[in-house]
């Protein structure tokens, strides 16, 4: 018998299924923090430009114990949660209406699309003229910034609802209101959540901008204040809080999404 060779076929796409252990991510972030700390300790960068993580934590802790941080955080939370809630609810409602009614679509969609591209912060002076310099303009500007992405996502979510589901609902006796409530809203929910997540970033951005322009308290005002005083550690503590705020916002939305969309 002639020479036979054996060639085993191997999975050539094994790299697609590579398993990476969880501690690798932790290692990454610890590594960068250590490197940062080291750079500061060795005085490679002056602490005014980039304070060490430990220095930020120490000053941050001081801000927490003095109650300064909490006061500013509460002011910011109040604005962002209020503005976000108003913008999101209105955005969803108007989006459902525009998606469902051809008449409303024809009237309002051109208006929506002409206001949508305006960077909302440009409207702050006008809004301050309208509402004064209290809490109202900050809440309003955030609501405005949230309203549009949520509206547009809701609208496209409504349009993407499978028409056969609407037919089914009507066949089995649903009236228009129930079609919206029981078919269009749940059907559009995944897309609505995409809009809500997008809007969360916008809301944070507008919060900080508005607070930097006109506010006494709030994380944005605090960051600006310490920037002017060149107290970089406290400035960085504020930035850290903003990062945590964004993270929690996103996690919260993810949690809500899993709760509300269990069928996915």
């Amino acid at each position: 018998m002639a020479n036979t060779t054996k060639k085993v076929i191997k999975n050539r796409v094994a790299f697609l299924e590579q398993k990476i252990p969880g501690y690798v991510s932790v290692l990454g972030i610890t590594g960068i923090l250590l490197l940062w700390e080291l750079t500061c300790r060795l005085n490679i960068v002056p602490p005014l430009f980039l304070p060490a993580p430990t220095a930020i934590i120490t000053d941050g802790w001081e801000m927490i114990s003095s109650g300064e941080l909490l006061k500013n955080l509460l002011a910011s939370l109040y604005r962002i949660l209020g503005g976000y809630a108003i913008g999101a609810v209105l955005g969803i409602m108007v989006g459902l209406l525009l998606g469902f009614s051809k008449l409303a679509d024809a009237i309002f969609t051109p208006i929506v699309y002409s206001i949508y591209p305006i960077p909302k912060i440009a409207l702050l002076p006008l809004i301050i003229l309208w509402f004064g310099i209290g809490e109202m303009p900050k809440v309003a500007i955030i609501a405005l910034g949230v309203f549009f992405p949520v509206l547009i996502n809701t609208f496209s979510g409504v349009k993407s609802v499978d028409p056969s589901l609407i037919k089914a609902a009507v066949t089995f006796g649903s009236n228009h209101f129930n079609v919206i409530r029981k078919v269009i809203l749940p059907g559009a929910l995944p897309t609505i959540f995409a809009g809500l997540k997008l809007a969360a970033g916008t809301a944070l951005l507008l919060l900080v901008s508005a607070e930097m322009i006109a506010a006494q308290y709030g994380i944005g005002a605090m960051v600006l204040h310490y920037g002017n005083l060149m107290i970089t550690t406290k400035l960085m503590a504020g930035v850290l809080i903003l990062s945590l705020l964004g993270l929690m916002f996103n996690r919260g939305l993810q949690w809500l999404e899993r709760k509300l969309i269990p069928w996915k």
């Binding site: 589901l165 037919k167 089914a168 089995f172």
Partner: protein, 258 residues
């Protein structure tokens, strides 16, 4: 009570603004407890016709009406969709009882009828599953249960098994007959599958294309149950062949267009 389809005609305007005559001169009746199957090549307008009967499309001419209904009660329709169209966010039970819910049935009635029809289609134990967790055949069982649960005056089925694999399809056809035998609902069933038409129908309505019109109405003179038995094989084949000869030319034409 019977359902009359009278002089129905449907015109569409296509994307090039040409007027297309989809259905022309459609006249037939569905009698009480009768199983009528519409069969025809693709593009003959059979789904269009079913949508018109189901109130999901208005005819350009003619009308569809129920004759001999009690008092002024609105006739109830149950539709089984080709796309199945279960609500993904509702469990099997919530899907099946959707029509009852929209009709304002009590919770107790929904629970009772829901269970009854879920058992009937063989989905016992899957009441709380979401459609995503079901196989194609099981999804359509839920779709059938949803249509039966409203106890409709007319059951409409639009190629309900066309998305299923051949084996599941055969089983589902048998089960449908068993279920139909228990409920005896007036039924209008659309398919392009000739064997399926002969297997299920009391009468087969053969449609042809351009424009869609009735080519022939063929009563199937075989016992309702057990048509696949050997003793009926010759007759079964004869019916199937007759329908195929009526459709063949149109089907070939349809192939050229695509």
């Amino acid at each position: 009570m019977k359902i009359v389809i009278e002089n129905v005609e449907k015109r569409f305007t296509d994307s090039k603004k040409n007027e297309v005559l989809a259905l022309e001169d459609i006249n037939f009746t569905i009698n009480e407890q009768e199983f009528v199957v519409l069969v025809g090549p693709s593009g003959c307008g059979k789904s269009t016709l079913l949508n018109i009967v189901g109130g999901l499309l208005s005819p350009s001419k003619g009308q569809v009406y129920f004759e001999g209904t009690e008092e002024d009660k609105e006739p109830t329709l149950g539709i089984v969709f080709q796309e199945i169209a279960l609500f993904p966010w509702r469990s099997v039970f919530e899907n099946v009882t959707f029509g009852l819910e929209e009709r304002g049935a009590s919770k107790a009635e929904r629970a009772e009828k829901g269970k009854h029809y879920i058992d009937m289609v063989g989905l016992t134990g899957f009441e709380n599953a979401y459609p995503k967790q079901l196989s194609g055949g099981m999804k359509q069982r839920a779709g059938i249960a949803r249509a039966l649960a409203v106890e409709p005056d007319l059951l409409l089925m639009d190629e309900p098994f066309s998305a299923l694999d051949a084996q599941t399809r055969t089983i589902m056809q048998e089960e449908l007959l068993t279920i139909w035998n228990r409920t005896k609902l007036s039924t209008l069933y659309v398919t392009h599958n000739i064997q399926e038409a002969v297997y299920l129908a009391d009468r087969v309505i053969v449609l042809s294309r351009h424009p869609g019109h009735i080519k022939k109405i063929i009563p199937i003179d075989l016992p309702k149950i057990g048509r696949d038995q050997d003793q009926y094989r010759a007759q079964f084949e004869k019916y199937a062949d007759e329908i195929w000869q009526l459709i063949r030319h149109d089907a070939e034409e349809a192939l050229k267009e695509a």
